[in-house]
Subunit: 556 residues, 2 copies
């Protein structure tokens, strides 16, 4: 069977002006890869599905090889479990009218329920399951079609371990799978330490594609290489900041601990943004969710401290401050000096570009924008505890009833399509990496269809589509390039010499290696020079097409 | 990579008593193929996914080869289109709370919207699209897990043609694909003429698997071979019925036409069920949806007929009645004979087994129970008209603005899994046809894992899973048989002689052919006799495993 381009391939293209200012979401729709039936919703055509399926296959390969098992959970999930975990009333979840179901936004609750039915013994652990299917969230800012949608395709995996050591080993193993997946897709990505947000748990990392249009901010240290989300980046002042800033204005924010017997005064430069979570490393029982106004916190503490011998005050000074700084007045009239502790040199504000890395205390931080494409979480017993996923573990002291230690791991599959399209496009349209291009080679021919018949056996060894539309050859080549297909093969007037045209420019190393391959070839392989306006063209006898295509494709 | 059975394979089996009385839905869950998080909802484990994916591949092969194109429409669909087609208030559709979306129950509206955006010219037609994804319906009688669920996997296809002739050609082409699909799955099925129900349109056929547990009733003619759903089966009385029944009691039901100037009196045997739709073949403008009581219809007609010269009465006599029958009194006091028409010998009641086929008026009807697994509809312009999917078609008289002619075609993919499991199971558990078995061969070995290492290259040419659990060989063989896997290969104490055990009994022809293959083989191939308690066992040297397995599998 000859594989043809989709029926309505490039149908709207004649009305399209390719321009960097055209949003990628719109470009994808004009090229017929997706359509948007409504804000935040997406229909995938054959072309789009081919890319989605390639990403899914790359993901499956890495996960299956590690013994993780695929499954597919129902997209509707009953209220009960979500009430147990206190997520039923989450404002971003779609609920079904007149029913006790929601549309799954993520699947910690359903998978934990599934495991409660299936798990019989600790000996079955560790177990990791994954699925690739739709998820649903109310996105008010439905942004750019694929990047932020009400319905999206997601790979979500969940791991179950007998103890923390084993769970962290699984987390590392999954981290290895993620590196492999993004390397196989062939995009440059970073893993950043991240805040766990509403999913919760002990530890998490975000996986990003660096891009100036991204909505996330990440920092990278040029010395230790540590990468983190802005919400997790600890920073120290530069020498210059310390010398020049000292006498600047200081802001203060007040907190109490959970018991409310400690008042914490957080001092930080007035022109910076306090990150209350950073205080937790010094004062783990700090209540950063306490929404009372500062004055009320102070007053309550003052009243209490007059009676309570345990009352204490902790002053935390951001690392950028020094004694010359212009501190505000202490808020409590009487202040027994013995109840006051002062901590200095603690980083408690969001990092700025150029500051010193708080991890290694040596390197310089670089700030960049990025598009999040994955997130991994170590959940500990955040879900297994309320949902009572417990196992009996025999120990020296007898049977120990333990909550199963969980992890969860997401990759935004449809988001990845939008992110790669955004990052790789150029003035000439889309440009897919070979790994996830809808197809690797577009074949165009003149009106003599016998050429295609002669080539069909060779073509069957390639990932190709034949553009059999009744259109001029030049138009078909342009449209394949706009669509971002890596190569075009022309069966034209020079046949049996065929022409192979490369989408976009290649770097010098790749060009040198291909040139060497052409010299080493036992047949005539001619290469026309490459410049920005004229991509490289290769001419070979039809019998050598597959060999040459494969030599070029390894670089794409 | 050695392929292993799923991690929790047969985990609950030790608690399971295999018994014909155990409902298939429950059996599938106990075997870990699916689980039910809630009534009408299904989770698919790896084992179940393997079967789902095989069915999907068989479907894709037949549809792709006909040039039909896959796509994937959003599962959420906005209210507007469904209001246009007057389906928004359908009681069986799930709507999203506080939003104007529903969860797609079928996708005529979204695909028609998609085509309105994509279609530019009549020259692009015919086009047929399909998708394999979830659908959602409120099922009050959520029956047997996979057969009737709130969420199910469905293949739905939609065709678009320029005129009726072309649309009917597409319908026939799709019918060919359906025959091919069900033949490739290897189930015995029937296609029955059917009523179009709430999807609507001009013509439809149901596709069924015959089974006594089915909830549908179909009739088959032993002469012309016509098959139809009970709602579409026209039947004529047997000679015996005509002679013996004549003087029985007669019931009557009253209808009017749309204009309400004709009263239709439908007479039928009191012990039978009237099928009002059958009256439409004689009186096409009959209003069978009119829910007024008979007395009201009669009275309104009587009042009207006194003034209106066009008033008429049509008396329709079911074919089973004759002049000796015991007719009720005529309801209208004055009856101008010239306004009365009488039609006799019209079949207007649901068929009974043994009656004469109304199509060929010759053969005898057989009644059987069946499970519906597919439905094909010719929709005409039922959706394109309200949604205004129009195209300009040049004709001799100028440009003709036409509504696109549509068809829609469903296969219940998850339903098919439940139906085949139900129909093929026996006293020993499930029994999958080779085509959709989760895997074709279970390999079991003793504790010497070097045997598997030696066999791995051969096994890679088979669709196998290795049961590597630390369990006795006999238990693993039994469990593979209960799971319905076609073959078990034992690498045991006779190794390098391996044993191949067949699930269930084979028919004589298959046995003879396999016996002949064993005689023709250039190596020693021993077959142990087969009876009901002891399935056939084959013994061959390990080097010939693939050859023998393939010779056996063609019969499964």
């Amino acid at each position: 069977m000859i594989k043809r381009v989709p029926k309505l391939y490039c149908e709207h293209l004649n009305k399209l002006k390719i321009d960097r200012r055209l949003p990628t979401a719109e470009l994808l729709a004009k090229l017929g890869i997706v359509s948007y039936p409504h804000s935040g919703l997406v229909n995938w055509t054959k072309t789009g599905l081919l890319t989605l399926d390639k990403i899914s296959s790359i993901i499956r390969k890495s996960l299956d090889s590690r013994g993780y098992e695929e499954l597919r959970l129902s997209l509707l999930s009953h209220k009960d479990a979500w009430v147990t975990t206190e997520r039923w009333f989450h404002k971003d979840f779609f609920k079904i009218k007149d029913e006790n179901f929601l549309l799954v936004p993520t699947a910690e609750e359903p998978i934990t329920e599934h495991m409660k039915r299936a798990l019989e013994s600790y000996k079955q652990l560790p177990l990791t399951y994954y699925q690739i299917n739709q998820k649903f969230r109310k996105e008010k800012r439905a942004r750019g079609g694929l990047l932020r949608g009400k319905e999206f395709l997601m790979k979500d995996a969940y791991s179950f371990d007998v103890d923390e050591a084993s769970a962290l080993k699984t987390y590392e193993d999954m981290t290895g799978a993620y590196h492999e997946i993004f390397q196989n897709i062939g995009v440059s990505y970073v893993r950043a330490q991240a805040d766990s947000g509403s999913i919760g748990g002990e530890m998490s990392h975000e996986w990003h594609l660096s891009n100036e249009t991204g909505e996330d901010t990440i920092f990278t240290c040029d010395s230790c290489g540590h990468v983190s989300n802005i919400e997790k980046t600890l920073s120290l002042p530069t020498d210059e900041q310390l010398q020049n800033w000292g006498s600047g204005d200081v802001s203060v924010a007040y907190f109490t601990n959970n018991k409310r017997d400690t008042l914490v005064c957080a001092y930080y430069p007035a022109d910076r943004v306090l990150e209350p979570k950073f205080l937790l490393s010094e004062i783990p029982d700090l209540d950063i969710t306490d929404a009372r106004p500062d004055s009320e916190k102070v007053q309550q503490f003052e009243t209490m401290s007059e009676a309570d011998m345990n009352a204490s005050v902790v002053r935390v000074m951001d690392a950028r401050l020094n004694s010359r700084s212009n501190f505000p007045d202490f808020p409590i009239k009487f202040a027994n000096r013995s109840m006051i502790t002062t901590l200095t040199d603690v980083p408690i504000v969001s990092a700025n570009e150029g500051e010193v890395c708080g991890e290694c205390e040596d390197g310089t931080l670089t700030k960049s924008k990025a598009i999040e494409i994955g997130h991994t979480f170590y959940l500990d017993d955040k879900y297994s505890k309320p949902m009572e996923l417990k196992i009996d573990v025999p120990t020296e002291k007898g049977i120990d009833k333990r909550y199963v230690k969980m992890g969860c791991y997401g990759i935004g599959v449809s988001r990845l399509v939008g992110a790669v399209a955004e990052i790789n496009r150029d003035d000439g349209g889309l440009r897919w990496p070979r790994s996830i291009a809808p197809w690797e080679v577009t074949v165009v021919s003149d009106h003599d269809s016998s050429k295609i018949d002669e080539m069909v056996e060779q073509l069957s060894r390639l990932d190709y589509r034949w553009d059999d539309r009744n259109e001029p050859i030049g138009k078909k080549i342009r449209e394949s390039n706009i669509m971002g297909i890596p190569l075009v093969v022309v069966l034209g007037k020079n046949y049996p010499v065929v022409e192979i045209e490369v989408r976009g420019t290649m770097d010098t190393t790749a060009r040198e290696q291909i040139k060497q391959a052409s010299i080493d070839a036992a047949f005539h392989w001619e290469i026309a020079p490459q410049d920005h306006n004229h991509p490289a063209k290769h001419f070979v006898d039809k019998d050598h097409l597959v060999h040459v295509v494969n030599k070029i494709l390894v670089h794409l």
